[in-house]
């Protein structure tokens, strides 16, 4: 997984509350064989509305979404995180997230930043004209106007994000133990695991 210690750039001033995963990626896109390409289905129902932020050239390719309360509620589909990944989103800032979504986002290297509604209101304003900076090392969101919003994030998750460690990555960090197990097996049950790596 890509390491992420900082996300900097324009942000979609989305702001909507209770955005469920059906809105993030509708069910007909779930039959895919790839997690790539889901961006084209992302926020389909929002994009059907004229003047929506996602199709506004001002924000094209923005790596951040500013959202409302309870972002990512509803179905547990990991496709929601895949869709955000695919559209180039690396961080979502909201007053709260659904647990399942933030877990899926984390697994896919997306930073979920929780800030109070006042901070969100201010960021919604700034986002219309200027870039925003999410600094994961220092746990702070800043703007070019000296705004400084500190946020909390689980230390373990932060560590994993900064070092690009997903669950597979963390297990791979124990490769020597796995290798040792294989060597033991190659001795005790040679028919099962014929050779150690």
């Amino acid at each position: 997984m890509k390491a992420v210690s900082k996300v900097e750039g324009r942000a979609y001033p989305f702001g909507l509350k209770n955005v469920d995963t059906d809105v993030i990626i509708p069910a007909p896109y779930l039959k895919t064989i790839s997690r790539i390409g889901l961006g084209r289905g992302a926020f389909e129902s929002v994009r059907a509305q004229p003047g929506n932020v996602f199709d506004d050239p001002e924000y094209a390719g923005a790596p951040i979404i500013i959202a409302g309360d309870n972002f990512g509620c509803g179905s547990s589909r990991e496709h929601a995180a895949w869709a955000l990944n695919d559209m180039g989103v690396e961080a979502v800032i909201a007053p709260s997230f659904s647990d399942i979504f933030s877990g899926n986002a984390f697994k896919n290297g997306i930073v979920t930043v929780v800030l109070p509604q006042e901070a969100i209101d201010r960021l919604m304003e700034v986002a219309k004209t200027d870039p925003i900076n999410v600094d994961l090392e220092n746990k702070v969101v800043t703007t070019p106007y000296q705004d400084r919003f500190e946020f909390e994030i689980d230390d373990f998750r932060r560590h994993c994000l900064i070092n690009g460690l997903d669950e597979v990555g963390m297990t791979l960090a124990k490769a020597d133990r796995i290798t040792a197990h294989e060597q033991k097996l190659a001795q005790s049950q040679p028919w099962l695991v014929p050779t150690a790596v």
């Binding site: 064989i33 790839s34 796995i178 028919w191 695991v193 790596v197």
Partner: protein
């Protein structure tokens, strides 16, 4: 040092712990990984995005099964027949490309060895006793029939195993399901597992790994044990197993991927040591008497909705649990049945003999024994025989079973999952009824609106030739 008496499951578990976290989660080594086309594409993609390799392609085996049509796969000119459904074709093409590109052995759709992943594993000797075996499919429990610890996993876990050859797991509780005595005439392994699920319920095994013990399983063939173990998941247990014994060894000996020579002897000695120690205890024990088990079948839309063939459709109000009363009523509405109706009076339009539960040579023999010299009832719209693998098919043809089926009016198909989950073109139309040897009678499982009765292969054949659910014992010599 005195070692604690351990169960078969505990011995296999202990032998596979690579690492243990403070919260008890263990990193478990996986000895064998089977993959098919439905749950693997995004796992391979994950590896590609992260620039990772498959750690042990030599311990991984890929075979397509779920989406494959069961009609001929090559035409008269020897050319591959294209697959009409584009999404199926895309999943199949993805596996065909992904497996070799990561160095994994791939059994092609047109190969003789192709078949349902859970038939192929034991048949090739890829699945072995005492091994941990996973596959992105919940019926992986099947391989427990040869004494392996086998269970289904999701796509993100498939990726984890591909990359690390391990899984993060918590140890399960143990349940002994003991069936003593001798099975009656016409009672098959399928009836045994249906009776067990009927007794413990569809979630009775949740959180447990089941070990099947007692004379019934000791006397049972390996094919039968695979059938029983296969449906552990329908009783809620992630895995089920039967201790490996001489029958297991005889079944595996000489299989293409089974150990050879000195290693074979070494392996057998080790496998023998896996049996549950005298004095070991299980967290839960369930006991059934073989004499109480009749040819059985399901009436509803949960695998726990089991009655003997001599029984009637139950009254929903006869269940003590109010939520079960509601569920039963919903099932009956969906199934188009009324309480008190005799099971044997229920007409079927479709018959399916196949799936990873019942598509091995013994299953086909049992169905053929009933079909022999008879004809399917005139109103039967489709009666499919789908062998579990190309090798099963070849064996059946060598024994002349295909002729028996064809003469009786059955269709003789190419191997695959087929009407078990209707992902390929084999579907039961809405509102129509099927006697099926598969493992799930869920709403819509065999096609939207399809009505499924789970039965043994012999009972399926009996339904085909009589045109209704029937007591196979009345058709047996």
């Amino acid at each position: 040092m005195t070692t604690k008496a351990r169960t078969l499951y505990e011995k296999i578990w202990d032998a596979h712990v690579v690492d243990q976290r403070d919260d008890g989660t263990c990193l478990i080594y996986i000895d064998r990984h089977l993959i098919h086309e439905v749950t693997s594409p995004q796992a391979f993609e994950g590896l590609r995005i992260a620039g990772r390799k498959v750690r042990r392609p030599d311990l991984t085996l890929a075979v397509p099964d779920h989406n494959l049509p069961t009609t001929p796969r090559v035409d008269a000119a020897g050319k591959r027949v294209p697959i009409a459904d584009l999404e199926s074709a895309a999943q199949l093409a993805a596996l065909e490309h992904d497996a070799p590109s990561f160095g994994i052995k791939y059994i092609d759709a047109t190969a003789r060895e192709q078949g349902i992943v859970h038939v192929v594993g034991p048949e090739q000797g890829f699945s072995l006793p005492g091994a941990t075996i996973v596959c992105g499919d919940s019926h992986t429990a099947c391989h427990g029939g040869i004494g392996a610890l086998a269970f289904g996993i999701g796509t993100s876990e498939v990726e984890h195993v591909l990359a690390t050859q391990t899984l993060l797991l918590k140890q399960s509780k143990t349940m002994e399901v003991r069936v003593e005595g001798k099975l009656g005439h016409g009672v098959s392994p399928k009836d045994v597992i249906l009776a067990i699920i009927g007794k413990i319920g569809a979630s009775g095994g949740t959180g447990y790994v089941i070990e099947y013990t007692g004379s019934v399983f000791r006397d049972m063939s390996i094919e039968g044990r695979l059938t029983v173990s296969n449906m552990s998941i329908e009783g809620g247990a992630r895995a089920g197993l039967v201790a490996p014994d001489d029958k297991t060894f005889a079944y595996l000996k000489g299989r293409p991927m089974a150990p050879k020579g000195d290693q074979w002897d070494q392996a057998v000695a080790y496998w023998r040591s896996l049996a549950t120690d005298p004095g070991a205890t299980y967290d839960k024990v369930v006991v059934l008497d073989a004499a109480d088990i009749a040819p059985s079948l399901t009436w509803g839309t949960s695998p726990e909705d089991v009655v003997p063939i001599t029984g009637v459709v139950p009254d929903p109000m006869s269940f003590a649990d109010p939520s079960k009363q509601v569920a039963a009523q919903k099932s009956l509405d969906y199934m188009g049945l009324t309480p008190g109706q005799r099971m044997q009076d229920i007409e079927v339009q479709h018959v399916f003999v196949g799936s990873c539960t019942n598509s091995r040579i013994e299953d086909l023999r049992a169905a053929a024994a009933v079909a022999k010299g008879r004809k399917i009832a005139p109103h039967i719209k489709q009666a499919l025989i789908v062998p579990g693998s190309g090798l099963v098919k070849a064996q059946a043809e060598a024994e002349g079973l295909d002729k028996i089926f064809l003469d009786a009016g059955f269709e003789w198909r190419e191997p695959g999952c087929s009407m078990c989950l209707a992902m390929n073109p084999d579907k039961v139309p809405s509102g129509e009824r099927c006697a099926s040897t598969s493992n799930r009678n869920f709403v819509g499982r065999q096609g939207p609106g399809a009505r499924t009765h789970l039965v043994s292969p012999a009972m399926a054949a009996a339904a085909a030739v009589t045109g209704h659910l029937a007591d196979v014992r009345e058709l047996m010599a």
